[in-house]
Symmetry: D2
Subunit: 412 residues, 4 copies
């Protein structure tokens, strides 16, 4: 009854991939320019594809080590800027122009429209509330009784866990452990401060060390370093409680006249959009509520060398609109798990560093500033989308700016 293909014989030890046309292997993993070219030419022959633009790579190939394997060149994505965006943070203060890499027409214009309006309204106030990242290994026991004893006793071992964890890292600092019993297992969330790095590799290593200590000390028989609870790169309710990255809140009062001038809607129209789309979010059983954080986050993350897959968790958050007593609009975004970095990962590579420097955020000491700018930028995108829905102009805007449309005159 099956139409699965016939299984090949299992491989013998030492010849695991015998016979398969593997991507070429090189000494030192092949990051020299010639090796990258050789690999690219090999793949072109295998597939019949021409790859001249992939070859037009401005990143020195040796610099790719640690960021990618089997490199064959680089992809290019259009980069635009949106702004000015006036930010009143504790770290970011002043006017910013936000680099956004995307191929989705109208996106940059939409964000820009919101940013300019916010700037005209007096700017965006932003605060970073919590700043930590988390890994949640799972410890397994033979019975509920043993798991309970472990969970109940864990607080007594905090200092030892901290010493173990911090022995693996110069920058990470263990700030809290939180056990959650689950049958005869216990999931323990290890919360770290990670300075300017996104820090997942750092804290996974630190957590593994601490977990191994629990095993060698006889407190737990075994563990797996990931349980999934900490929701790295996925949406979940857990994220709303904070803990993964930075909790960022950005808000602004938008005078009714400014809103009308830029969006052709009233504050009540925006509140009505909030209401109506809330019904849709509730019906969808969505996590959090927002119009399109994913759009802005993705464009900024690609531009600035962030781990773009973190958008899956960073896009969880809550946009809010309220009328003020004097008839204006108060708008805010709450981002409980904004995972951004200004050092490590892809932040130092070619165009990423340039984009971060465009914001004055390249290098150490700038992650909170970068987080505040991102929060403020997302508020612009939310307002612009809400305005487009409220005024009925969404389709029009995409007709004007979308792919292959006759060019019209844009404007803010």
């Amino acid at each position: 009854m099956s139409d699965e293909p016939t299984r090949p014989a299992p491989p013998k030890k030492g010849e695991a991939a015998a016979g398969l046309p593997l991507v070429p292997r090189f000494t030192d993993q092949g990051y020299a320019a010639g090796q990258v070219r050789e690999r690219r030419e090999w793949i072109a022959r295998q597939t019949g594809a021409d790859l001249p633009l992939v070859a037009a790579c401005a990143i020195p190939t040796e610099e790719m080590r640690g960021n990618i394997e089997n490199p064959i060149g680089a992809v290019q994505m259009p980069l635009g800027v949106a702004g000015p965006l006036l930010v009143h943070g504790e770290h970011a203060q002043g006017m910013f122009y936000v680099p956004m890499a995307t191929t989705e027409g109208a996106l940059v214009r939409s964000y820009e429209r919101g940013m300019v309006m916010l700037t005209r309204a007096g700017g965006v106030t932003v605060r970073v509330f919590a700043d930590q990242n988390v890994v949640s290994p799972i410890f397994s026991f033979d019975s509920v009784a043993e798991a309970h004893r472990f969970a109940a006793d864990l607080p007594r071992h905090f200092e030892a866990l901290r010493a173990q964890a911090e022995s693996t890292t110069r920058h990470g600092r263990l700030v809290r452990v939180d056990p959650r019993p689950s049958g005869r297992a216990v999931i323990v969330s290890f919360y770290f401060h990670t300075a300017d790095a996104q820090g997942m590799n750092m804290i996974v290593k630190a957590t593994e060390r601490a977990a191994e200590w629990l095993v060698t000390s006889g407190l737990a028989p075994r563990f797996k370093v990931f349980s999934g609870l900490s929701s790295e790169k996925r949406a979940s309710g857990f994220l709303l409680a904070g803990g993964k990255g930075k909790t960022v809140v950005a808000g602004a009062r938008v005078p009714a006249a400014v809103l009308q001038a830029y969006m052709r809607v009233t504050p009540a129209d925006i509140v009505s959009v909030w209401h109506d789309t809330m019904l849709g979010h509730l019906q969808a059983n969505a996590i959090g509520f927002n119009a399109h954080y994913a759009n802005g986050l993705t464009a900024i993350f690609i531009a600035c060398g962030q781990d773009v897959a973190n958008v899956a968790n960073a896009a969880v958050g809550i946009t809010d609109y309220e009328l003020t007593p004097d008839g204006d609009l108060y708008a805010s975004v709450t981002l409980p798990s904004l995972t951004v970095a200004t050092v490590g990962g892809g932040t130092g590579l070619g165009t990423s560093r340039e984009c971060l420097s465009l914001l004055g955020c390249a290098g150490s000491g700038h992650a909170p500033k970068f987080a505040e700018i991102v929060g403020a930028a997302l508020l612009g995108g939310e307002l612009s989308m809400a305005g487009a829905i409220g005024s009925g102009e969404f389709v029009n805007a995409h007709e004007t700016y979308g792919r292959n449309r006759p060019a019209g005159e844009g404007g803010t």
Copy 2:
């Protein structure tokens, strides 16, 4: 009690952005090479940033029209390849090498390890179940009674709605409308077949036309084109029922010996990882269950010119592992909302087209094939991650391949 900045006076009509240092405006929106350079130089002056690598842009600037606004050049991201991946789909058949753009060290190696193992195990079977995209406008009424009558009568108007919707598009086809009452509002999901395009702009326009017809026909007093129910670019429970993009299921039987050779774990170890990480997902109140679809999707979407923000919805899905009666592993991924395209959006731009052509998926007629390859590739990534967790080698692998680490000898 407030430390909000003093509000500026609202703008007068016609001078909305007076005084703000707007990004320069150009005739025809400024896609000529000189205009892009001029804009880049202006932004460099404003921010003090040097942007030589952003300037090293291989995409002809005029081709960016419709994909981005305010262009200043391009970003570059390293591109690697993972494979070979043997796929047994209805559209994709044979060996593939998957292009992945990322800056996250170890990611390409991890996916490659899974792909090679799957290929050695006999390949991946993939099927596309549903293939549709959806927009869900919300219609508002004055009372529950009127909303009920509208929802109850809607099926009678399907042919008229179809005619209206399809009058706006050559490729989109309205296949179903589904009303969901919500108080005195009714959210109506319009389901379309969109051929090889992701199609959101297409179907939003078509839906708007149909919705306007309902208003002009006196069947509804007003609507907003988005309710949020259709979960474009966000995670939600709604997505699991299918409807947004393609529903793709990929599965493979992995002999115990193959699993041991590549991952150093047994099928029971993988099932144990499934169990333990399921507890974490449940505790997190996550949507669906998977190890890291977001990683693979993001890398492939960036490489292949997809709308990367769609990862937020496409990453919702379910990975499954079961022991077979003869002691092997059956592994599968189920992706209910895979939004991929081979035409439109960024698919035709420079490196995107080259990456799609590397898979034999550039242009019309290839979206189902591309979807099958993506599904198979994700299965590889899931198995590799599960193997790393099960064998306790996750941290080690990231030490070997991660940023700035001494180079070790990789291998599959």
Copy 3:
């Protein structure tokens, strides 16, 4: 390392419970009055408890057959009435007094307050949108390819499935089957119309018959009758799409003056409660949005012989408040999975039948009417709670009516 008790030797066949002090077994399962008394006395001896009030059971013990096993008497719970409630349904029309069984002080008064206000405001409009119940068995296959073929072909077998399913029931009618692929399994939702019964036993039996036919016809190798998808007795996102029981929407316009007179709040205050508690629901990752459906449903379900555990699913729904253009409040509740019955289950037992008759809903033909009254009653409870939160009087009300408090003068 374990402190689990030592395991006893496994039982030998035929003496499974040897040595355990089982609850006494009787001929014909022991529903005669003397047998119930004997069982009660036995349990009193075992536990040392006196059970005089449990013995004061007005339900003829033989009538308990089919509703409970091991009967020892009955529990009693206080019964109050709330009303009048003016309902404008398609089935329920006129004034109603709603029986509510509870021990939670202030609950009846709170619901009554809302009902009287709604009545004074002109009554509640209610509509039943969908009316169906669902069971979702899971079919397992050896590979993704086989599962796909099954799911793709299923629509062709609908008539056969319907014939099989309906052969087991006089009242159930199969209206739709909906396959959802999940790896190498397929979950198929069987949707039935169940007339005036809650109907779970009926439709599980019918579904089992249809599923067995699929196996004996060679279309599927095996199945389990429950997958959990249909969300019987649990909260889930699936329920919001309708399908489990009746989808009921109730709404009313409440003039500002009426709201002020009964609740001492303005329509804007109620909208503010909606906004603020929405933030809490979002932060909690709750399913749907409402203040306390569970309170009203539980009290009515206990009074009227419903399956009270169905509150877990029936309490999923959405309460909505909006300002009208003329400054009044429009309030509504949407209940997508209201599982109520007027025949079968406990509906015919003693006080249950009396309570249903108090609503004119005892026996066949009255389930939609009952559903409409329940929907309208819940709207009263929602408004009363929102009013109490908005006016800051929640604690006061519970001080006045709660357990062991000095009696104050209540009032509507």
Copy 4:
């Protein structure tokens, strides 16, 4: 376009309900036996219903004060017992017979089957991990900056908050406050230990006092006592983190032979049920995972005078099954929000007190013991349901025990 009824004129002050047929008002709210009879007769006249069994009320009517308003008598529900259940808790130790009030045929038998099997397997180990209840008021500010300052400073005020909160209660103890920023609002969760009471009224009052102090101290301009975050009487992801009521974990090792004898399934069959129904729960976007906690909780809560509507939150939890190395089954339930009480609410009323005394749990000092018994009982119900699904006997069991079926011979 509306078919809403014409609105009546708004009421004049002081004659709010003029003309409406209100339920009769009595001096002292009417708890005297004669007043209850008079009210019952009035309602009987209004509705035409006969209420002889409602009148057969064994609860002294004056004792109903504080538990219900507008009393007209009592409802009766059949009561059965399930057991014996061997419990190894820290508070509950020994054999128990669990009182269950229900009208759902087969439910008591099903739970009993699981309990007897668990007892035969050596009993159930149970632990209470956390024991607290929570209220989450929302504080509103004029801007994000003010909200941030409040949230950041809150920890400094803990002692003052504790003094304020505890001034209102003899039993409640404030153990923790946890602020969560949400735009320009801050939701603060106040966690209390509530001794043997469910304690919601107690802690809402205490929280209100503390919140008022924050306002009078000038730290916050205004608040609402409920935000919904604490998830009283609803399902949510928040509950999984513990905090609402008791976190209870119950587990048992079930030898394969015992499982076979009682359930006619193997441990692998049960694990397969877990797997297959997990797919359904994932597809449904359910919260947590369990077969039917709601059934057991509801039956025990009704019997024992608990706040039955709390089933909505208490039924959130996770059932787990694993194979042990020696081929047995390890089964567990994890209940993060079990809200039970042995004092207050309905626990002291007539049959409730008798049912609690049947477990040795009536009155002060017994809430943890009661919680442990409930946890163990639910494990029995889960196993019985899993066994019925795994063996394919679910429908048969309901045919045998369900309403109006020919009586067969039951047995454990």
